[in-house]
Symmetry: C2
Protein backbone atom coordinates (compact mmCIF):
# COMPACT_ATOMS: atom_id res chain seq x y z
CA UNK A 1 0.00 0.00 0.00
CA UNK A 2 1.40 3.34 -1.01
CA UNK A 3 2.17 5.82 1.76
CA UNK A 4 -0.36 8.40 0.59
CA UNK A 5 -3.03 5.74 0.35
CA UNK A 6 -2.36 4.63 3.91
CA UNK A 7 -2.50 8.22 5.09
CA UNK A 8 -5.86 8.79 3.44
CA UNK A 9 -7.21 5.53 4.76
CA UNK A 10 -6.36 6.51 8.31
CA UNK A 11 -7.76 10.00 8.00
CA UNK A 12 -10.99 8.60 6.58
CA UNK A 13 -11.48 6.19 9.47
CA UNK A 14 -10.71 8.97 11.92
CA UNK A 15 -13.13 11.35 10.31
CA UNK A 16 -15.80 8.69 9.89
CA UNK A 17 -15.69 7.91 13.57
CA UNK A 18 -16.39 11.52 14.45
CA UNK A 19 -19.14 11.81 11.87
CA UNK A 20 -20.83 8.60 12.98
CA UNK A 21 -20.80 9.73 16.58
CA UNK A 22 -22.17 13.15 15.78
CA UNK A 23 -24.61 12.41 12.96
CA UNK A 24 -25.27 8.73 13.43
CA UNK A 25 -24.22 5.94 11.10
CA UNK A 26 -26.15 7.46 8.22
CA UNK A 27 -23.83 10.46 8.06
CA UNK A 28 -23.26 11.61 4.48
CA UNK A 29 -20.18 9.91 3.05
CA UNK A 30 -19.36 12.95 0.96
CA UNK A 31 -19.06 15.01 4.11
CA UNK A 32 -16.74 12.46 5.63
CA UNK A 33 -14.55 12.55 2.53
CA UNK A 34 -14.50 16.33 2.49
CA UNK A 35 -13.60 16.61 6.16
CA UNK A 36 -10.83 14.10 5.61
CA UNK A 37 -9.52 16.36 2.83
CA UNK A 38 -10.07 13.64 0.27
CA UNK A 39 -12.25 13.15 -2.80
CA UNK A 40 -15.35 11.01 -2.65
CA UNK A 41 -13.76 8.63 -5.13
CA UNK A 42 -10.95 7.93 -2.71
CA UNK A 43 -13.39 7.08 0.03
CA UNK A 44 -15.20 4.61 -2.19
CA UNK A 45 -11.96 3.00 -3.33
CA UNK A 46 -10.95 2.21 0.23
CA UNK A 47 -14.44 1.40 1.46
CA UNK A 48 -16.76 0.02 -1.20
CA UNK A 49 -19.78 0.84 0.90
CA UNK A 50 -20.92 2.37 4.15
CA UNK A 51 -20.62 -0.93 5.99
CA UNK A 52 -16.94 -1.32 5.18
CA UNK A 53 -16.26 2.04 6.70
CA UNK A 54 -18.41 1.30 9.69
CA UNK A 55 -16.61 -1.96 10.15
CA UNK A 56 -13.23 -0.24 10.12
CA UNK A 57 -14.36 2.27 12.72
CA UNK A 58 -16.02 -0.33 14.87
CA UNK A 59 -13.08 -2.67 14.72
CA UNK A 60 -10.78 -0.14 16.35
CA UNK A 61 -12.99 -0.14 19.41
CA UNK A 62 -13.63 -3.82 19.67
CA UNK A 63 -10.39 -4.57 21.46
CA UNK A 64 -11.82 -2.81 24.46
CA UNK A 65 -14.88 -5.04 24.60
CA UNK A 66 -12.74 -8.11 24.08
CA UNK A 67 -10.49 -6.96 26.90
CA UNK A 68 -13.50 -6.60 29.15
CA UNK A 69 -14.52 -10.16 28.47
CA UNK A 70 -11.07 -11.38 29.45
CA UNK A 71 -11.25 -9.45 32.69
CA UNK A 72 -14.67 -10.84 33.50
CA UNK A 73 -13.33 -14.30 32.83
CA UNK A 74 -10.37 -13.80 35.12
CA UNK A 75 -12.26 -12.18 37.96
CA UNK A 76 -14.21 -14.44 40.24
CA UNK A 77 -17.58 -13.06 39.19
CA UNK A 78 -20.59 -15.30 38.95
CA UNK A 79 -20.46 -16.87 35.46
CA UNK A 80 -24.02 -15.97 34.47
CA UNK A 81 -23.70 -12.43 35.75
CA UNK A 82 -20.48 -12.06 33.81
CA UNK A 83 -22.23 -12.93 30.55
CA UNK A 84 -25.04 -10.52 31.24
CA UNK A 85 -22.74 -7.73 32.33
CA UNK A 86 -20.68 -8.16 29.21
CA UNK A 87 -23.76 -8.00 26.99
CA UNK A 88 -24.67 -4.77 28.75
CA UNK A 89 -21.24 -3.39 27.90
CA UNK A 90 -21.76 -4.32 24.26
CA UNK A 91 -25.10 -2.55 24.40
CA UNK A 92 -23.63 0.55 26.00
CA UNK A 93 -20.93 0.71 23.37
CA UNK A 94 -23.28 0.41 20.45
CA UNK A 95 -25.36 3.19 21.91
CA UNK A 96 -22.56 5.64 21.20
CA UNK A 97 -23.25 5.31 17.48
CA UNK A 98 -26.85 5.95 16.60
CA UNK A 99 -27.74 3.35 14.01
CA UNK A 100 -24.88 0.98 14.70
CA UNK A 101 -27.20 -1.65 16.08
CA UNK A 102 -29.30 -1.44 12.94
CA UNK A 103 -26.21 -1.64 10.74
CA UNK A 104 -24.94 -4.72 12.49
CA UNK A 105 -28.28 -6.42 12.10
CA UNK A 106 -28.64 -5.40 8.51
CA UNK A 107 -28.42 -8.31 6.14
CA UNK A 108 -26.68 -6.27 3.47
CA UNK A 109 -23.85 -5.59 5.84
CA UNK A 110 -23.53 -9.19 6.79
CA UNK A 111 -20.44 -9.75 4.69
CA UNK A 112 -18.81 -6.41 5.36
CA UNK A 113 -19.09 -6.44 9.13
CA UNK A 114 -18.29 -10.09 9.62
CA UNK A 115 -14.86 -9.47 11.10
CA UNK A 116 -16.43 -7.43 13.87
CA UNK A 117 -19.11 -9.98 14.44
CA UNK A 118 -16.75 -12.89 14.78
CA UNK A 119 -14.60 -11.03 17.28
CA UNK A 120 -17.66 -10.38 19.39
CA UNK A 121 -18.77 -13.97 19.08
CA UNK A 122 -15.51 -15.41 20.19
CA UNK A 123 -15.20 -13.09 23.18
CA UNK A 124 -18.77 -13.64 24.31
CA UNK A 125 -18.69 -17.31 23.45
CA UNK A 126 -16.01 -18.01 25.99
CA UNK A 127 -17.96 -16.29 28.74
CA UNK A 128 -21.12 -18.11 27.78
CA UNK A 129 -19.40 -21.45 27.63
CA UNK A 130 -18.13 -21.07 31.17
CA UNK A 131 -21.58 -20.14 32.44
CA UNK A 132 -23.15 -23.10 30.72
CA UNK A 133 -20.52 -25.46 32.11
CA UNK A 134 -21.41 -24.17 35.57
CA UNK A 135 -25.08 -24.84 34.85
CA UNK A 136 -25.89 -21.18 35.32
CA UNK A 137 -27.28 -20.66 31.82
CA UNK A 138 -29.47 -22.93 29.76
CA UNK A 139 -27.34 -25.12 27.55
CA UNK A 140 -29.42 -24.46 24.43
CA UNK A 141 -28.56 -20.76 24.41
CA UNK A 142 -26.14 -19.71 21.66
CA UNK A 143 -23.82 -16.73 21.67
CA UNK A 144 -25.00 -15.66 18.24
CA UNK A 145 -28.54 -15.50 19.52
CA UNK A 146 -27.55 -13.49 22.55
CA UNK A 147 -25.74 -10.93 20.46
CA UNK A 148 -28.62 -10.66 18.04
CA UNK A 149 -30.99 -10.26 20.94
CA UNK A 150 -28.83 -7.59 22.50
CA UNK A 151 -28.60 -5.54 19.32
CA UNK A 152 -32.31 -5.92 18.70
CA UNK A 153 -33.03 -4.52 22.15
CA UNK A 154 -30.54 -1.70 21.70
CA UNK A 155 -32.34 -0.80 18.52
CA UNK A 156 -35.71 -0.85 20.25
CA UNK A 157 -34.37 1.36 23.01
CA UNK A 158 -32.74 3.72 20.54
CA UNK A 159 -36.02 4.23 18.74
CA UNK A 160 -37.84 4.96 21.98
CA UNK A 161 -35.72 7.61 23.64
CA UNK A 162 -38.71 8.77 25.64
CA UNK A 163 -38.51 5.57 27.66
CA UNK A 164 -35.13 5.56 29.36
CA UNK A 165 -35.43 2.24 31.17
CA UNK A 166 -36.64 0.28 28.17
CA UNK A 167 -33.45 -1.57 27.39
CA UNK A 168 -33.01 -2.76 30.94
CA UNK A 169 -36.61 -3.87 31.25
CA UNK A 170 -36.51 -5.87 28.04
CA UNK A 171 -33.11 -7.31 28.81
CA UNK A 172 -34.23 -8.41 32.22
CA UNK A 173 -37.04 -10.42 30.68
CA UNK A 174 -34.64 -12.25 28.45
CA UNK A 175 -32.08 -12.62 31.15
CA UNK A 176 -34.52 -14.41 33.40
CA UNK A 177 -35.35 -16.73 30.57
CA UNK A 178 -31.73 -17.67 30.12
CA UNK A 179 -31.43 -19.20 33.52
CA UNK A 180 -32.34 -22.85 33.91
CA UNK A 181 -35.73 -23.23 35.45
CA UNK A 182 -36.05 -25.03 38.75
CA UNK A 183 -37.88 -28.33 38.49
CA UNK A 184 -41.49 -27.53 37.69
CA UNK A 185 -43.29 -26.03 40.64
CA UNK A 186 -46.99 -26.86 40.57
CA UNK A 187 -49.20 -23.99 39.48
CA UNK A 188 -46.62 -21.39 38.60
CA UNK A 189 -45.38 -23.03 35.45
CA UNK A 190 -48.79 -24.07 34.20
CA UNK A 191 -48.96 -23.92 30.44
CA UNK A 192 -45.23 -23.66 29.99
CA UNK A 193 -44.94 -26.57 27.62
CA UNK A 194 -47.26 -24.90 25.13
CA UNK A 195 -44.94 -21.94 24.88
CA UNK A 196 -41.75 -23.84 24.21
Amino acid sequence: MRADAQRNYDRLVEEAQQAFIVHGTSAALEDIARHAGVGIGTLYRHFPDRYSLLNAVFERELDDLVQRSVELLAAGTDPATAVIDWLRMVAVHSTSYRGLAAAIMEGDGYQRMQSCKSKLRSAGGTLLWRAQEAGAIRSDVQIGDLLKLTYALVLAAEKNPEEPGLFDRLMSLAVDGMRPRAAATAGVSAGRTAAD
Copy 2:
Protein backbone atom coordinates in the same frame (compact mmCIF):
# COMPACT_ATOMS: atom_id res chain seq x y z
CA MET B 1 -64.34 14.37 0.63
CA ARG B 2 -64.92 14.56 -3.07
CA ALA B 3 -65.74 11.31 -4.83
CA ASP B 4 -62.62 11.36 -7.03
CA ALA B 5 -60.44 12.03 -4.02
CA GLN B 6 -61.93 9.07 -2.20
CA ARG B 7 -61.40 6.91 -5.25
CA ASN B 8 -57.75 7.87 -5.48
CA TYR B 9 -57.24 7.39 -1.79
CA ASP B 10 -58.56 3.85 -1.98
CA ARG B 11 -56.54 2.96 -5.03
CA LEU B 12 -53.40 4.28 -3.39
CA VAL B 13 -53.88 2.19 -0.28
CA GLU B 14 -54.62 -0.83 -2.42
CA GLU B 15 -51.57 -0.33 -4.56
CA ALA B 16 -49.35 0.50 -1.60
CA GLN B 17 -50.30 -2.75 0.07
CA GLN B 18 -49.18 -4.71 -2.97
CA ALA B 19 -45.98 -2.74 -3.31
CA PHE B 20 -45.11 -3.08 0.36
CA ILE B 21 -45.64 -6.82 0.19
CA VAL B 22 -43.56 -7.24 -2.94
CA HIS B 23 -40.80 -4.68 -2.43
CA GLY B 24 -40.89 -4.15 1.31
CA THR B 25 -41.93 -1.00 3.10
CA SER B 26 -39.25 1.02 1.34
CA ALA B 27 -40.95 0.64 -2.02
CA ALA B 28 -40.64 3.80 -4.12
CA LEU B 29 -43.63 6.05 -3.53
CA GLU B 30 -43.48 7.27 -7.11
CA ASP B 31 -44.02 3.72 -8.33
CA ILE B 32 -47.00 3.31 -6.06
CA ALA B 33 -48.52 6.51 -7.40
CA ARG B 34 -47.91 5.47 -10.98
CA HIS B 35 -49.42 2.03 -10.48
CA ALA B 36 -52.42 3.63 -8.85
CA GLY B 37 -52.80 5.77 -11.98
CA VAL B 38 -52.25 8.91 -9.98
CA GLY B 39 -49.65 11.68 -9.83
CA ILE B 40 -47.04 11.76 -7.11
CA GLY B 41 -48.54 15.01 -5.86
CA THR B 42 -51.82 13.29 -5.18
CA LEU B 43 -50.11 10.63 -3.14
CA TYR B 44 -48.38 13.21 -1.00
CA ARG B 45 -51.56 15.18 -0.47
CA HIS B 46 -53.34 12.17 0.97
CA PHE B 47 -50.34 10.79 2.80
CA PRO B 48 -47.80 13.40 3.92
CA ASP B 49 -45.14 10.76 4.33
CA ARG B 50 -44.39 7.08 3.96
CA TYR B 51 -45.58 6.32 7.47
CA SER B 52 -49.04 7.71 6.87
CA LEU B 53 -49.42 5.40 3.95
CA LEU B 54 -48.04 2.47 5.88
CA ASN B 55 -50.42 3.24 8.68
CA ALA B 56 -53.40 3.23 6.34
CA VAL B 57 -52.39 -0.12 4.89
CA PHE B 58 -51.64 -1.61 8.26
CA GLU B 59 -54.85 -0.37 9.79
CA ARG B 60 -56.96 -2.33 7.35
CA GLU B 61 -55.43 -5.52 8.64
CA LEU B 62 -55.46 -4.77 12.30
CA ASP B 63 -59.07 -5.77 12.81
CA ASP B 64 -58.00 -9.32 12.22
CA LEU B 65 -55.41 -9.23 15.00
CA VAL B 66 -57.87 -7.53 17.33
CA GLN B 67 -60.43 -10.19 16.51
CA ARG B 68 -57.92 -12.87 17.37
CA SER B 69 -57.33 -11.36 20.77
CA VAL B 70 -61.06 -11.40 21.46
CA GLU B 71 -61.23 -15.05 20.52
CA LEU B 72 -58.30 -15.91 22.75
CA LEU B 73 -60.00 -14.06 25.55
CA ALA B 74 -63.26 -15.92 25.08
CA ALA B 75 -61.75 -19.35 24.66
CA GLY B 76 -60.68 -21.12 27.79
CA THR B 77 -56.99 -21.07 26.89
CA ASP B 78 -54.38 -20.63 29.56
CA PRO B 79 -54.03 -16.86 30.11
CA ALA B 80 -50.25 -16.72 29.73
CA THR B 81 -50.27 -18.92 26.65
CA ALA B 82 -52.93 -16.71 25.16
CA VAL B 83 -50.72 -13.64 25.48
CA ILE B 84 -47.77 -15.40 23.96
CA ASP B 85 -49.78 -16.90 21.14
CA TRP B 86 -51.20 -13.53 20.31
CA LEU B 87 -47.77 -11.93 20.23
CA ARG B 88 -46.73 -14.66 17.82
CA MET B 89 -49.67 -13.75 15.60
CA VAL B 90 -48.59 -10.13 15.65
CA ALA B 91 -45.11 -11.26 14.68
CA VAL B 92 -46.36 -13.46 11.87
CA HIS B 93 -48.42 -10.63 10.47
CA SER B 94 -45.61 -8.12 10.51
CA THR B 95 -43.45 -10.62 8.70
CA SER B 96 -45.60 -10.26 5.61
CA TYR B 97 -44.24 -6.74 5.11
CA ARG B 98 -40.48 -6.60 5.03
CA GLY B 99 -39.56 -3.52 7.02
CA LEU B 100 -42.84 -3.07 8.82
CA ALA B 101 -41.30 -3.95 12.15
CA ALA B 102 -38.61 -1.35 11.58
CA ALA B 103 -41.18 1.24 10.55
CA ILE B 104 -43.26 0.66 13.64
CA MET B 105 -40.22 1.03 15.84
CA GLU B 106 -39.01 4.11 14.03
CA GLY B 107 -39.27 7.25 16.09
CA ASP B 108 -40.12 9.44 13.08
CA GLY B 109 -43.19 7.39 12.47
CA TYR B 110 -44.24 7.58 16.06
CA GLN B 111 -46.93 10.15 15.39
CA ARG B 112 -48.11 8.77 12.12
CA MET B 113 -48.55 5.18 13.16
CA GLN B 114 -50.01 5.88 16.55
CA SER B 115 -53.51 4.81 15.66
CA CYS B 116 -52.19 1.35 14.79
CA LYS B 117 -50.10 1.19 17.89
CA SER B 118 -52.91 2.06 20.24
CA LYS B 119 -55.19 -0.53 18.70
CA LEU B 120 -52.53 -3.16 19.27
CA ARG B 121 -51.97 -1.99 22.79
CA SER B 122 -55.57 -2.14 23.78
CA ALA B 123 -56.09 -5.59 22.30
CA GLY B 124 -52.94 -7.01 23.84
CA GLY B 125 -53.41 -5.11 27.06
CA THR B 126 -56.63 -6.93 27.83
CA LEU B 127 -55.01 -10.31 27.32
CA LEU B 128 -52.04 -9.34 29.44
CA TRP B 129 -54.21 -7.97 32.22
CA ARG B 130 -56.07 -11.25 32.49
CA ALA B 131 -52.84 -13.22 32.66
CA GLN B 132 -51.45 -10.98 35.34
CA GLU B 133 -54.64 -11.21 37.38
CA ALA B 134 -54.27 -14.97 37.23
CA GLY B 135 -50.69 -14.65 38.45
CA ALA B 136 -49.42 -16.29 35.27
CA ILE B 137 -47.29 -13.35 34.15
CA ARG B 138 -45.11 -11.05 36.22
CA SER B 139 -47.07 -8.02 37.26
CA ASP B 140 -44.33 -5.57 36.26
CA VAL B 141 -44.57 -6.49 32.59
CA GLN B 142 -46.21 -3.83 30.39
CA ILE B 143 -47.99 -4.36 27.11
CA GLY B 144 -45.99 -1.60 25.45
CA ASP B 145 -42.79 -3.38 26.35
CA LEU B 146 -44.06 -6.69 25.04
CA LEU B 147 -45.00 -5.20 21.71
CA LYS B 148 -41.68 -3.42 21.40
CA LEU B 149 -39.90 -6.61 22.27
CA THR B 150 -41.91 -8.55 19.72
CA TYR B 151 -41.18 -6.10 16.93
CA ALA B 152 -37.51 -5.97 17.87
CA LEU B 153 -37.30 -9.73 17.59
CA VAL B 154 -39.19 -9.74 14.31
CA LEU B 155 -36.66 -7.28 13.00
CA ALA B 156 -33.75 -9.41 14.16
CA ALA B 157 -35.28 -12.46 12.52
CA GLU B 158 -36.01 -10.55 9.32
CA LYS B 159 -32.39 -9.50 9.02
CA ASN B 160 -31.17 -13.06 9.52
CA PRO B 161 -33.18 -15.04 7.01
CA GLU B 162 -30.55 -17.76 7.02
CA GLU B 163 -31.63 -18.70 10.53
CA PRO B 164 -35.24 -19.79 10.31
CA GLY B 165 -35.79 -20.60 13.99
CA LEU B 166 -34.30 -17.37 15.31
CA PHE B 167 -37.50 -15.61 16.22
CA ASP B 168 -38.82 -18.56 18.17
CA ARG B 169 -35.58 -19.06 20.02
CA LEU B 170 -35.33 -15.43 21.06
CA MET B 171 -38.99 -15.25 21.93
CA SER B 172 -38.76 -18.31 24.09
CA LEU B 173 -36.03 -16.69 26.15
CA ALA B 174 -38.17 -13.67 26.82
CA VAL B 175 -41.26 -15.75 27.36
CA ASP B 176 -39.61 -17.70 30.11
CA GLY B 177 -38.58 -14.48 31.74
CA MET B 178 -42.14 -13.25 31.79
CA ARG B 179 -43.34 -15.99 34.05
CA PRO B 180 -43.12 -15.45 37.77
CA ARG B 181 -40.22 -17.31 39.21
CA ALA B 182 -40.88 -19.97 41.82
CA ALA B 183 -39.60 -19.08 45.26
CA ALA B 184 -35.82 -19.12 45.07
CA THR B 185 -34.42 -22.58 44.70
CA ALA B 186 -30.98 -22.85 46.23
CA GLY B 187 -28.15 -22.82 43.75
CA VAL B 188 -30.07 -22.34 40.54
CA SER B 189 -30.92 -18.70 41.07
CA ALA B 190 -27.53 -17.73 42.37
CA GLY B 191 -26.62 -14.26 41.24
CA ARG B 192 -30.08 -13.37 40.13
CA THR B 193 -30.33 -10.24 42.18
CA ALA B 194 -27.38 -8.72 40.40
CA ALA B 195 -29.17 -8.99 37.09
CA ASP B 196 -32.42 -7.36 38.13
